[in-house]
């Protein structure tokens, strides 16, 4: 389906599939857990968008830094957070990736370069630029990565962040996950120019639009951008056209603002299916079985983990 398929080994392709499957199955489990009342706060799933985090993070090292959004489970998993630590966090447990302090929108795992999801739209763009600044100042070849939505692209943080990264040639990937909606507001309604990649002109940086449901296309674009960043040539804006097939958040209605036909059309282009079509069915099935076991174990782990001790509720406000 894409030329890049040839460039990747079968193992690499299977690995991409595995990551997407881990995200999908974890999200599905989280959705069920939400219905069961195990998740105390918000839960925005990544179902339908798995190819983006997967394709991008496959290019990253553990010491590269990812900054994410309210819809960050996929980014966290692709960057190396375990389903167990993620689920435990959403269940509010002490074993969660943020020790239960954060929930879905405040996932922190600096150990694997997952520098945070955020309940506020926008800051991740600036913070990724800042990581790029650090990495350049400290003379490393690490990169900073911001994932953000189409909605965030209309926020001032986008303008200020991309401009600074451009003028200082910072090693940063700006990954816009254009899933066509911000909550229930269409990008056509919220953006004068809904082609986010075209806005790169305003910053004099490369702007690329890719099929965000095709993990190989995403991988390839991110590969180029990562090489560019590591080589000192500066940032890239990548707009991944994709779609969330579940509601904005679990428990929210999902009607009125988009048609069933539109949802179905995108479901037909499911990123897992698209890749699976290129892989031996047996391999896919084997991965799915492994992932299922992993997710089941994660769920048990999370459910059986203790809640944090209220006595710790105010520690670590300050370092000193």
């Amino acid at each position: 389906m894409t030329q890049t398929t040839d460039k990747l080994s079968k193992d690499q392709l299977l690995s991409l599939y595995r990551t997407m499957a881990v995200i999908r199955r974890t999200e599905e489990q989280l959705a069920r857990a939400h219905q069961a009342g195990l998740i105390h706060g918000a839960c925005h799933t990544y179902v339908g968008e798995e190819a983006v985090a997967t394709g991008v993070c496959a290019n990253l090292r553990t010491d590269d830094a990812v900054f994410s959004t309210h819809r960050g489970h996929g980014h966290a998993l692709a960057k190396g957070v375990s389903p167990a630590a993620l689920m435990a966090e959403l269940f509010g447990r002490a074993t969660g990736v943020s020790r239960g302090r954060g929930g879905s929108m405040h996932l922190f795992a600096p150990e694997v370069g997952m520098m945070g999801t955020s309940g506020i739209v926008g800051p991740c763009i600036l913070q990724a630029a800042g990581a790029g600044y650090s990495f350049k100042l400290l003379n490393t070849d690490r990169v900073g990565v911001a994932f953000f939505g189409d909605g965030a692209s209309n926020n001032g943080a986008f303008h200020e962040g991309l401009n600074m990264a451009s003028i200082w040639k910072l090693p940063v990937l700006f990954i816009c996950e254009n899933n066509l909606y911000a909550t229930e507001i269409s990008i056509n309604q919220s953006a004068g120019n809904p082609n986010v990649a075209e806005r790169a002109v305003a910053y004099n940086i490369p702007g690329v639009q890719v099929d965000g449901n095709d993990v190989l296309k995403v991988y390839e674009a991110a590969r180029e951008a990562t090489l560019r960043a590591r080589s000192g040539a500066g940032p890239t804006l990548i707009e991944c056209r994709t779609y969330r097939t579940r509601a904005h958040a679990e428990g929210m209605r999902d009607a009125g603002y988009r048609s069933a036909e539109e949802v179905d059309a995108w479901k037909a282009r499911d990123p897992l299916k698209l890749l699976a079509a290129q892989l031996p069915a047996a391999d896919v099935a084997a991965i799915e079985a492994e992932v299922k076991a992993q997710v089941d174990a994660a769920y048990d782990f999370a459910r059986n983990s203790p809640y944090p001790d209220p006595a710790t509720a105010t520690t670590h406000v300050f370092a000193d």
Partner: protein, 328 residues
């Protein structure tokens, strides 16, 4: 009297005033056809369309700045910000522009803008959806800061906000949104700067408790408990923290000799500090005991239920604080 939820009461005020005043428009994310994340504008889009119920991009600073210019040129914007945390991105517009333009223009420009939305800790919303920053706005000259604690107050205070000519922060605690209470069908306003005696103490009343927003209910619960032991407490809900009705508080203190302020937010430089400072300035001789504050913990708001619960006062800790005060 019929009962309405807090949100429905405020929505009724908005709907009634929008019908009268064509210069009112509302901006926010999802306040158009969707009717608002908290149903604050449900049904209004069908009546008034997109110019008056305007779904915005995620650009909090931008639409606050836009509304500032709109308020300067003849319309009356209502910013429906969803969570107070979100508009911290617009703090420059709020503090440097909204709050100052009437003064700097020597009163020739008006600034009739209402910013409304949710505050408060609860429901594992975590630290980006639990903000309570009203003491900040009370610190800045130029804002009226409103904290309704009942549906009745929500409707009457919102009417006042929509008819006035000043910037109003209208802050709705998330735990109150679905609470119900009696709300008259008639039009009424509640003036800013008039506290409500939420529980009147009798002759033997031994302490005054000032409680804000969702703490009013929790304090009343605590007082019900204390009443069983024959302990009589007066509870005051300031309703607006700017202007602040200090007189009502100090009159009560004069009677009781003891004062506790129960406030979910951070203690340092909070509204509780202001009330305590006014008490020790103007009513030292009335004080039979130290003025006490019971506040939320001085830390960001965590997600996990047991952690979250540990951050804020509840009926039990309020009751204990009152008993401690009485023992002083």
């Amino acid at each position: 009297m019929r009962e309405l939820t807090y949100t429905a009461a405020a929505r009724e005020a908005l709907a009634e005033q929008m019908a009268i005043d064509p210069t009112i428009f509302v901006v926010g994310e999802g306040i158009g056809p969707r009717g608002g994340n908290f149903m604050t504008t449900a049904g209004l889009y069908d009546l008034y369309g997109p110019m008056r119920l305007r779904d915005t991009p995620i650009a909090e600073r931008g639409f606050i700045g836009l509304c500032t210019g709109a308020a300067m040129t003849g319309s009356r914007p209502v910013v429906d910000f969803m969570f107070l945390d979100f508009i911290l991105d617009g703090m420059g517009e709020l503090i440097n522009q909204v709050a100052k333009i009437q003064y700097m223009s020597d009163g020739r420009l008006k600034m009739p803008i209402v910013l409304r939305g949710s505050i408060g800790v609860g429901g594992s919303a975590a630290t980006h959806h639990s903000g309570n920053y009203y003491s900040i706005f009370a610190h800045i000259p130029g804002f009226k800061v409103v904290l309704p604690s009942t549906p009745y107050d929500a409707k009457g205070l919102f009417k006042t906000a929509l008819r006035g000519n000043d910037p109003v922060m209208f802050l709705e605690h998330k735990l109150l949104l679905n609470t119900k209470g009696p709300v008259p069908e008639e039009d009424y306003e509640i003036p800013f700067g008039q506290a409500r005696i939420a529980r009147a103490g009798g002759k033997g009343c031994r302490a005054t408790v000032v409680a804000l927003a969702s703490m009013v209910r929790k304090t009343l619960e605590a007082c019900d408990q204390l009443a069983k032991d024959g302990i009589d407490i007066e509870v005051i809900d300031p309703r607006t923290v700017a202007p602040l009705d200090t007189d009502t508080i100090l009159e009560s203190l004069h009677k009781t000799g003891r004062l506790l302020i129960v406030d979910e937010t951070f203690a340092p430089c909070g509204i509780g500090a202001e009330i305590a400072a006014q008490a020790v300035d103007r009513a030292l001789d009335d004080l039979d005991a130290p003025v006490k504050r019971l506040n939320g913990a001085f830390a960001p708001t965590p997600y996990s239920p047991p952690l979250e619960a540990a951050m804020i006062p509840n009926a039990t800790t309020i009751e204990a604080a009152i008993r401690d005060l009485l023992a002083e």
